[in-house]
């Protein structure tokens, strides 16, 4: 993802809002990758030596755990980004319906 270019006219707050957003996205997407591609596929066999809720852990991540984490990720993003938006004054929550 490219960085903001210097020739912007509409002010500084929005640019740093965007870099905060990218940082948050990077963090959440690395969790997304780790639980599914990491735990569910690449590390599935070694993890199967452990158990979660009575199920081999690699199998559990592949067929259940990753789905729970996905749901949590979307709500965490929604909550964190709303806070960032309010901080930078770019939220649409207070604007009401057009």
């Amino acid at each position: 993802m490219e960085d903001a270019s210097p020739d912007r006219s509409d002010g500084k707050p929005k640019r740093s809002y965007w870099s905060e957003n990218l940082r948050l996205l990077g963090m959440l997407l690395s969790v997304w990758f780790t639980v599914s591609f990491g735990f569910g596929i690449l590390l599935h066999e070694p993890l199967n030596r452990f158990e979660i809720l009575g199920v081999p852990a690699g199998f559990w991540f592949a067929q259940a755990g990753s789905i729970y984490v996905f749901v949590a990720l979307i709500f965490v993003y929604s909550w964190r980004i709303s806070k960032i938006e309010r901080r930078f004054g770019v939220s649409d929550d207070e604007e009401g319906r057009a």
Partner: protein, 590 residues
């Protein structure tokens, strides 16, 4: 009341409900027809998205696929849910901020050309029609199985119902019928799942069943299943047979494909605000996860139950009654190869091809098959769809539960078909007519054209349903692979880079699309002399090739963009605007 009468009653009532909603919520403007007026509550939109997304395949076939593929089927579970993370984080809020009606709207304006819009329409139509062809067939199959009508008749009934609420109500009608359809389908899925969970583990919560003790055996459902299957010569349920690179590629292609499916994306144009689009995607995944975390449990329990109650039983005396009733309609077939009168279940196909009944009755009372037997010790053919369809009978549930499952399966098939038909008609009336070839079109004529396009799309989809092309079984791979390789990269680059220009995006989409079609064509339909597993690129199956198509799209786009003209300043300003939520306004106002 008989089960058949109850089925007619339940299905009839659900149809009356859908049509009633359609009349109450009919669209009066193009804004209502394309994006339901932009005023749908995020939770309601989440439910509608879940119904839109979960087709007859999710409802009926998925548990069966997991039951027979075990760990390998994890690609579907992760792929079809993980895509919502990408959708919520990378696409939905920005497209909602952009605030027009269709996916080609965004691509056409972001890549400042009619050519980009038309290429986007082309990708959308190919993706959506390959998907809807399978759905209409699914509608027909579900009808014929539950209502005892021929499949073609089932397709026609399905077309008539979809016609009514999609043409009349547009997105507005579809949204509220999908909310109702979600309620019907999830209730119909969970009721038998809870009962079979109690039957097998004594615990009413299906998601906990995998690790729960199976009966009084001292082993968990999974341990017992692993043990039983390896004894019979199958691979262990918790270990896969696919290569790691293929698992990786298929999961990625399904995730990215999910996020790139136009009929799913447009659902997020219907909520009032940018923050609602994010929340709504979260709710959609909650509603989807209810079914997707239940399916693996249903799969494992049904497979275990099948092996334990059927294998080794004497057909004439102790084989369960439901086996015979599903044999009656051809979804189970038994060939007594060793003539001992008992059913032997083992790895491998029992005989060549699908069961072909001679019409005679064998020595144990079974339906005689004319198929040539294979060398495998396995004697029984099972259609994998049975794992969900036969659950109520396996758990000895009353007739109304079977009727409920029928209504649920039909709801799942109709809701997906309607969502697909709507994006096709919107892309024709709005993107091709209004925005490309007939810019002078009035609001009224555009609405007429949208309804007309919906009619034509239903007729074409119905034709595919009655004359299914040979590729119906492969359409899932095709639709997801194409969405992943064409639309997703173009949209993401349009939001996250300011420098991607029209040449880059257009060549990127076209090369991703072409590469993926040709690869799937070669290995699925035998183009260019076909080929086997040993010819796969990097060991990646056609199901996973969309991931490579996506990478190719990105690479071509960045390469072409480097050597062509930079994007105009107005487009850079557009990108800045969609990156911040404030000032969204209503969809379509810009």
């Amino acid at each position: 009341m008989s089960t058949q009468a109850l089925t007619y009653l339940f299905v009839g009532l659900s149809f009356a409900l859908y049509i009633g909603i359609a009349i109450w919520s009919r669209a009066g403007s193009t804004r209502e027809f394309y994006v339901a007026g932009g005023g749908v509550h995020p939770v309601a939109n989440g439910m509608a998205t879940a119904a839109d997304w979960m087709s007859a395949a999710s409802f009926i076939s998925m548990a069966g696929i997991i039951a027979f593929a075990g760990y390998d089927a994890s690609v579907f579970l992760m792929g079809w849910t993980g895509g919502y993370v990408l959708l919520a984080l990378l696409l939905a809020p920005y497209l909602r901020k952009f605030g027009q009606f269709t996916v080609p709207d965004f691509l056409g304006e972001r890549y400042y050309s009619k050519a980009a819009r038309v290429v986007a329409v082309l990708c959308l139509v190919i993706v959506s029609f390959t998907y809807v062809a399978g759905q209409m067939r699914g509608v027909g199959v579900v009808f014929s199985r539950f209502l005892d009508v021929p499949i073609d008749m089932g397709v026609l009934i399905g077309m008539a119902v979809v016609f009514f609420y999609a043409v009349l109500g547009g997105m507005k009608g579809i949204t509220y019928t999908q909310v109702a359809q979600y309620c019907v389908l999830i209730f119909a899925y969970l009721v038998p799942a809870v009962f079979i969970s109690i039957l097998v583990t004594g615990n009413p919560l299906p998601p906990l069943a995998l690790g729960a003790e199976a009966g009084e055996t001292g082993q968990s459902v999974l341990e017992r299943l692993d043990g039983t299957l390896t004894d019979l010569g199958f691979a262990a349920y918790t270990e896969g047979t696919k290569s790691t690179v293929d698992l990786f590629a298929i999961t990625l292609a399904l995730m990215v494909g999910t996020a790139g499916l136009p009929h799913v994306i447009v659902r997020f144009f219907t909520v009032p605000k940018v923050s609602d689009a994010r929340r709504s995607a979260g709710w959609a995944l909650v509603f989807i996860a209810l079914l997707y975390t239940t399916a693996p449990a249903v799969a494992a329990m049904a497979r275990l139950n099948f092996v334990e109650t059927v294998n080794g039983t004497a057909y004439a005396e102790d084989t369960p009654e439901w086996v015979k009733s599903w044999e009656g309609i051809g979804l189970i077939g038994w060939q007594d190869k060793n003539a001992d009168g008992r059913i032997q279940y083992a790895a491998g196909a029992p005989f060549e091809g699908a069961p072909d009944f001679s019409g005679e009755t064998g020595p144990s009372g079974e339906r005689v098959l004319t198929n040539a037997p294979t060398g495998s010790a396995n004697e029984i053919y099972v259609d994998r769809d049975i794992m969900v369809l036969a659950n109520p009978e396996i758990a000895s549930l009353p007739g109304w539960v079977i009727a409920l499952v029928a209504a649920g399966g039909i709801a799942a098939a109709l809701s997906t078909a309607a969502g697909l038909l709507l994006v096709i008609s919107a892309s024709v009336s709005h993107d091709l007519l209004k925005k490309t070839f007939r810019p002078g079109l009035s609001e009224r004529s555009e609405l007429m054209a949208a309804r007309g396009a919906a009619v034509v799309a239903i007729l074409i989809a119905g034709w595919f349903g009655i004359h299914p092309p040979g590729f119906v079984a492969q359409v899932v791979a095709l639709a997801f692979g194409l969405a992943a390789a064409s639309l997703f990269p173009a949209i993401v680059m349009g939001i996250f880079t300011r420098s991607m220009n029209k040449e880059g995006a257009i060549f990127g989409m076209l090369s991703g699309l072409t590469f993926t079609i040709l690869y799937i064509g070669r290995f699925k339909f035998g183009w260019f002399g076909g080929g086997g597993e040993e010819d796969w690129l990097f060991g990646i199956s056609p199901e996973g090739i969309g991931a490579v198509g996506m990478a190719l799209n990105f690479a071509v786009a960045f390469g072409v963009a480097r050597v062509t003209r930079p994007v105009p300043g107005t487009v850079r300003a557009l990108v800045e605007r969609i990156r911040v939520p404030s000032g969204a306004g209503a969809a379509g106002v810009h």
